[in-house]
Symmetry: D2
């Protein structure tokens, strides 16, 4: 039977999730959408039921599983409602606006005794990252010692503050570095350019690996994500993110997109398919509630640690977390 | 409503099509399979109906659309049966064992007055090729003048004869070159190495473009397909077919697969999705019966022209076709 | 002792040879220059003796070895004069305006009983080509079966005729293909675009290798030379001709030069150093008079064969040469 | 007139410098060599005069300029002797075993009132680095904000201690980063893997640029140097360090050398030519005595700062230098 999925929030990401469910996912269909803006909801619905109350959607008999793509501040509330309803949910990152709220979700899930929440860290489904993780696990490059991440945006929105480079952008590297290495971050140190952009964040893991990340919100030339994993015997890194090369006007070139959507289109599709497959099988996939909490907590601790030194250039920030519940072992 | 698809033939390609329908295609499901070997059919069915008679599958009420992946010699017969039943079919290449049989299908479809047959030239859905075609159409590189194709297999099967390099492998370049350029081939000239492998085929199109193709059945190092389109202002070509690069053992490298499946996995999936989407909309996509006929005819004419000169090294072979029916305008 | 070298002709190439001798070659110095234009000669001389009579330069006691960079029509005459004077010469390609004149030089050298003439096919000293030849000789890629050459100029000069694409540009591929493979060309077949540009030339060697060359005089985007050698076990090809990559304005790119000089600067320098080293040791290096004759003869035979079919699209042209003298064994 | 150059020390580097002067440099010749081992000196001399006393070589009438390639501990003494003799010298890095000795040379040169010392930081002549610096100066990439350096050796010699990764290897990045950016380093922070290898060094410049360097002495897979300069509008980085690509055994690859010599062969040659050209013109080129002192001082301060924290993981180390003398403005 096809999984009936409801999507909360039909902005850019929510509309894309709705499209994936409608047109590009096996074993599922778009059953309902919800948005504060009824016109926008209707446009995304294309025949699916339209709700204006997210909790009503979550609790509707028409909906078996939920995608949460509403504003960040509402994520925790809806994730908790999904847990209460016993329905799988795919929650856009962040899992919650604060680490404390994120921990509430973890605790609710632990109390429930089974995992229902997936946090939409879609990079875990990007083929370049999955091939890198597979190469790490295969072992040819030896024990990992260093991970170089680069995360460049063409331009930050006007409302972007310094802390958001950490909480909004760098969180992706926190999550993907944990996942690539299978490690936990134990400290972080931030060096920032004047104005706070770019910043270079150096973390160390519980296996003494070094994770170095350039976060550049206004890199101008385009959206560009790169990673190179260095092991004791060799390295593995992303190839040039293109399928074609053009010789034109005295140059050979390939293009960068202006934002993350074209770069991660395939990752979003694969994430949705994997989440649907898991939901139908009574399982979960992707980043767990625990992963979502840890990532938010790490970002929060880094922002707090940076605070005293203004825009970065702080000392080494020790990162701590509560014990990992057995549910996430 | 989900499209009920039956798959005829559950060998390597048929089983893969069945898997795509079952697990990776939106808007369709695997309704039935058919194979001369009931055990193999059952393994691919995973719950779908199992037929031993292909015609019965085609005519079954349980089946709305058909994938033909049986031995080449049977393609024409089943495609005709699909036309008779008024059901869309996706027929693995070649459309028929001979051009004459291929033309029968074209004529049957013309008599029917609507297109139902898609020939599985999956490269038309490969992202690298579609980006190249889009670049050609966008016009930045100017009018096309030359297309360089490279088609290398690691090793030809033992049963491979010289003519099969043309009819089995080079047909892909015939089709994709026509599609990339939007042109028809009007002559061909073959230069072959001793033993016939590799061969270099030079064709000219009705727009005076030159199409050069290396076909190397025993290239040893791996399966490798490349294309570069040269226009009057610039060129567009495939980038290195990899997502990751490895530094190991005194070298930087990426891997080639041993056969075409990993290279074109995504093309097969996209082809199936596009075919299902089209079938549900009462339309067709991909290579038409006419395209399938022309490709088979071209290969047949080249093989005939090569014959007098043994393994290639023939003079220029003029290629002719009957008029294109209006149905394929 | 430093070798005293005289340079005949101080146009673009002659001035560059003079510069190399003055500033960038060990064991030699610029002793004299000669040009019909005394002002241009003086500018290139920078203190070296200035001649207006090339034969006087060749026969001067101040000159031990000669670089011939005068107009093509004069090459043969000056090369013969160098042979008469018993002085090594580095003659810009072509060795002579006609194959018959080229053969005169070969015969004069054979009569002399020792080799003094080097023809300036500088690609033989280009590191990318020398690494490709070394890879061929090392044998890992197996016996060569196919060589793909690409030779693109941004734009042909106004005075360029169709035949000059062969005699002026394609000669480089004739020479370098013979040298890369260690083979002789035995036939050629030309397929040309309307207007004759680009053309695709397919040759076969005495070892049954296939040599395919795109010659595009007006490729617009830049000067670009590429080669890929295909062996029975693998291939070797030129890497992207750049040392740096730039991310800028929504693209990653590297630049192509507008002509051959930047691409082959290092080849010219290495050729000059090797020629000086050889001359001081009483030896020769690079393309011999025989190589120069064969290349000119091949180009001449191709142009003659193309003639009947207008701009290319001729049948296969059989290439023949007189026996190779023992001096060039 | 050809510059008569004497080479002190005929180990690996000294023998290479001798060879360059003998065979590959215009305007100079190898006049003399000196080595504690007379047999080794004789082998490198190939006819040049052989000294056993370095000071005798420096002061010999046969020698106009001196290359110092003796053991590190002797560099300062010989550089001072060259200054005393008024002869240009090209001194292998480091300029001195300690910053204090390096400062002695600076002061001696200042007292002399003219620059005679070049420190052999050959990367300044590597074409990839010079093209990167030119790109920075051209300004297209905007103001530099971040420089990513990677410095990997296949394996450290047995006698290598942790501090030597800084004083022997990382010094190259100290120098080249100063030169690429035209900036001075004002602080450094070291994060090291267990055992001290690899280490990640983060520096900040007097223009608030961030310089990040991975120094990995036992990277196993080969010798590999990479740099990417990030500006406010774009980036420039080294392309793959190869001229050819090989398809073989299921992979496309290019090779890394096992040590720095093949990677920087061209840089050493260009450095020698530039140094000879400058010496003949009464000028200097390359890294000055001041640059040599600053680099040694920076490395010394970093090692001292790391000391308290064992193998790296120290806090931010403030870097200070005496005022730059006007001679080096």
């Amino acid at each position: 039977m096809s999984l009936a999925v409801g999507v909360i929030g039909t902005g850019v990401m929510g509309a894309e999730h709705a499209r994936l469910l409608r047109d590009a996912t096996s074993g599922a269909h778009l059953a309902a959408v919800c948005d504060a803006d009824p016109a926008r909801a209707g446009a995304a619905a294309k025949g699916a039921a339209v709700f204006t109350d997210a909790l009503a959607l979550i609790n509707s008999d028409q909906v078996q599983a939920v995608v949460i793509a509403s504003p960040d501040a509402t994520h925790a509330q809806y994730a908790l409602a999904c847990l209460a309803a016993g329905k799988p949910c795919l929650c856009e990152k962040p899992i919650a606006a604060t680490a404390a709220e994120g921990l509430d979700i973890v605790q609710a899930e632990v109390a429930l005794g089974r995992r229902l929440v997936t946090v939409g860290f879609m990079r875990r489904f990007d083929p370049a990252y999955t091939e890198m993780q597979a190469a790490r696990i295969a072992g040819n490059i030896g024990a990992p010692v260093l991970l170089h991440n680069i995360h460049r945006n063409a331009a930050a929105p006007a409302w972007f503050t310094g802390a958001m480079a950490v909480t909004n952008s760098f969180v992706h590297e926190i999550d993907i570095s944990r996942w690539l290495l299978g490690s936990e971050m134990i400290n972080a140190q931030v060096t920032a350019a004047p104005g706070g952009d770019p910043m270079l964040v150096t973390m160390q893991t519980d296996k003494a690996e070094i994770v170095s990340t350039e976060v550049f919100m206004n890199a101008t030339y385009g959206y560009h994500v790169h990673a190179q994993l260095v092991g004791r015997a060799g390295t593995v890194e992303m190839a040039a993110p293109t399928r074609i090369l053009t010789n034109l006007s005295a140059a050979q070139s390939f293009g960068f997109p202006s934002n993350w959507v074209p770069r991660f289109t395939e990752a979003y599709r694969l994430q949705m398919q994997a989440w649907v497959d898991a939901a139908r099988a009574g399982q979960t996939t992707g980043a767990s509630a625990w992963d979502g909490f840890v990532t938010t907590s790490t970002a929060e601790q880094i922002v707090a640690g940076m605070g005293n030194a203004g825009m970065g250039n702080a000392g080494r920030i020790t990162l701590t977390y509560p014990p990992r519940p057995a549910l996430y072992a």
